[in-house]
């Protein structure tokens, strides 16, 4: 699959703060990439650069275009959802559909209508009259109706309850993702996206800390739950993180074969959240 996004030496400073510090990465077509990082790590800046909303140093190509110079052409192939707050509050549901229908060449109105028919959203309502859940549904209806190559999600489920969050990602997978489209998502709620991701990218202090496919992650990292009496022996193998659990010590190893560790206790694939915590702490020490 060709690369949809290609970033080399991406840098961006706000005053003295380096939001992005020479970041390089590639995103291939058909991948679902999670861009995970603590607050202020540079996630949103990276997304803004990809969307052509901010200037930067370095080179960046998105679907063969320079996003800052060719934003409006790029937006024919890119779709974007920030958290639910960005739909204009004054606009009516019917108006937003009509407007996108008239200005977006890839908007498939019937797809949007079909999705909306399953909801309680009234066409005459203004956005500000809709509940948060309804706004999310409307946003989804608009996004899945746009036949885009790249979908960028910036904290799309912020402020939603757990049912809505689940429904959001289910809809995305069932109604939108077809194996060819590419999705780039940032979120704090790692647990909710980890089962849908194909690739994982950790970012901290403006630098990429991890950039790997989920297969790589499960090959490379091993989670070990070891009984306290054998902890010292396991420790000798150099875990990247150690966490005290209930009657078990949880260790995370990188680049260790599972067979080496099996004798110490139960091994498994670490959760993205555990891996994230381990790598972030490692990065800080």
């Amino acid at each position: 699959m060709p690369d949809l996004i290609e970033a080399t030496g991406l840098s961006k400073s706000y005053g003295d703060t380096k939001a992005l510090d020479g970041v390089s990465f590639k995103v291939a077509e058909g991948r679902i990439v999670g861009l995970i990082g603590p607050n202020g790590a540079g996630k949103t800046t990276a997304l803004k650069a990809v969307l052509g909303l901010t200037r930067f140093q370095g080179t960046l190509t998105v679907i063969g275009r320079d996003p800052y110079r060719q934003r409006h052409e790029l937006m024919q192939d890119v779709c974007f959802i920030a958290d639910v707050a960005v739909l204009p509050r004054w606009i009516r549901v019917q108006q937003v559909i009509d407007f996108i229908g008239a200005t977006h060449p890839r908007f498939r109105r019937e797809v949007c209508e079909r999705f909306l028919a399953r909801t309680d959203i009234k066409r005459t309502s203004r956005i500000k009259e809709l509940s948060k859940g309804m706004v999310t549904q409307l946003n989804l209806a608009l996004v899945i109706a746009i036949d885009a190559k790249l979908l960028v999600l910036d904290e799309p489920t912020l402020g939603l309850d757990i049912l809505m969050r689940k429904q959001f990602y289910e809809t995305l997978l069932n109604d939108y993702y077809d194996g060819e489209r590419t999705i780039l998502v940032t979120t704090h709620q790692v647990e909710e996206v980890e089962h849908i991701l194909t690739d994982l990218m950790f970012i901290n202090h403006g630098r990429i800390v991890l950039d790997a496919s989920m297969e790589d992650v499960s090959n490379r990292y091993v989670q070990l739950a070891v009984r306290p009496d054998r902890a010292a022996a396991a420790q000798a193998l150099g875990p990247i993180s150690v966490r005290q659990g209930l009657g078990r010590v949880h260790m995370l190893f990188a680049d260790r074969r599972r067979e080496e560790l099996d004798s110490f206790g139960d091994t498994g694939v670490p959760s993205v959240a555990d891996l994230f915590v381990a790598l972030m702490q490692g990065g800080q020490s």
Binding site: K48, L53, W90, I100
Partner: protein
């Protein structure tokens, strides 16, 4: 409908005041017309001050007053024509005025026409004032409000260029609003005239003065002309406001108004002059001053004969000439060049500014 038309339509969705405000003005005028509260009051007031009240016997002073009035309102008439009026008025002494219709009739025809012209102008100015205010605040808000509520992220996620967006907003303020204003002003004038005619007819007067073709044509024509001139003249002002709207971190109104006010005050303190102030007043009121800056105090109506029969070709040519002088003036052309530069900066601001919000 093409994309640009949709962008403009979107502006009308968001800023409903652009069409609701004139609709409300017209509704109020309609209500006034239907309830009989619209009247060209000035004519009766003047008839009263001339002592021409109902049942009143005209004294020597009343007649002198009327004569003096007639004098004022027959600028351009020949000496013989003027004398004829004076003779006619002198015969009125000692006569009883029997009703409001006759009181009205005592006001010289030329003055009546002038007042009707003023009446039309006042109605149009009401609409112009409302729409001007709307255009001002619309332009200040156009590139700011979506940055404030972050919906700019939504608009920028659509395949629309920043230039298209800014130009659509410029078009809405600089062309759309004047067109709406002109249509609303024409409607308002006709409704007001109809209402006033009904009232005049009810008191037994002759409403035909309200529909004098020359006055009517001048009144309606000047609305159209003014709209066209406003599009050109106010383009730089709109562009300036859009520029402020695109760049200001908050409170675009203060960002737009404080710097010019500060410069005016500094100039006054430092040099004791008021060139900047004169420039600003010219920019704000230019076309209106050009229209009324004439020996005749009535916009667009030049009464040349005591009989009140206006020479429509003369008035139209006179008005057209003044407006044309105005249109081809250097300040108009410089203004248009300035507008282009300001719009370019606003487009740049729209593109660049977003990241800082």
């Amino acid at each position: 409908m093409n994309r640009f038309a949709w962008l403009v339509r979107r502006e009308l969705w968001e800023h409903r005041a652009i069409w609701m405000a004139p609709a409300i003005v017209i509704a109020i005028l309609l209500l006034g017309a239907v309830t009989g509260n619209l009247f060209i009051g000035d004519i009766t007031v003047d008839a009263h001050t001339a002592g021409a009240e109902t049942g009143h016997t005209l004294s020597k002073e009343d007649v002198e007053k009327l004569k003096k009035e007639a004098d004022d309102w027959t600028v351009g008439a020949s000496d013989e024509e003027r004398q004829a009026i004076v003779d006619k008025l002198e015969k009125l002494e000692g006569r009883r005025v029997v009703g409001p219709a006759e009181a009205l009739g005592l006001v010289p025809k030329a003055k009546q026409l002038k007042i009707v012209g003023l009446f039309y102008a006042a109605v149009a100015m009401l609409v112009v004032f409302v729409m001007g205010t709307i255009a001002f605040f619309y332009s200040l808000d156009a590139l700011y409000s979506d940055r404030r509520d972050r919906s700019v992220l939504f608009w920028k996620s659509l395949p629309l260029s920043d230039a298209e967006t800014v130009l659509a907003k410029f078009f809405t303020a600089a062309v759309g609003i004047p067109v709406v204003a002109a249509v609303a002003a024409l409607l308002a004038q006709l409704i007001a005239a109809a209402g006033a005619s009904a009232k005049v007819a009810i008191i037994g007067g002759d409403p035909s003065v309200l529909w004098n073709p020359a006055v009517l044509a001048t009144a309606l024509g000047s609305v159209g002309l003014m709209a066209a001139v406003s599009v050109l003249w106010y383009a730089p002002l709109v562009a300036y406001l859009l520029l402020v709207s695109a760049w200001s971190p908050r409170s675009p109104f203060l960002w737009a108004s404080l710097p010019p006010v500060a410069v005016v005050m500094l100039e006054r303190i430092a040099f004791g002059t008021a060139y900047v102030q004169a420039f600003l007043v010219h920019r704000f009121l230019g076309p209106f001053k050009a229209m009324v800056n004439d020996t005749s105090a009535t916009p667009g109506v030049v009464v040349r004969q005591h009989s009140g029969e206006l020479d429509i070709t003369t008035t139209a040519a006179d008005l057209g000439g003044r407006i044309l002088d105005f249109v081809i003036s250097p300040s108009m052309l410089v203004g248009l060049l300035g507008a282009a530069a300001l719009i370019a900066l606003a487009i740049w601001g729209r593109r660049y500014r977003e990241e800082n919000t």
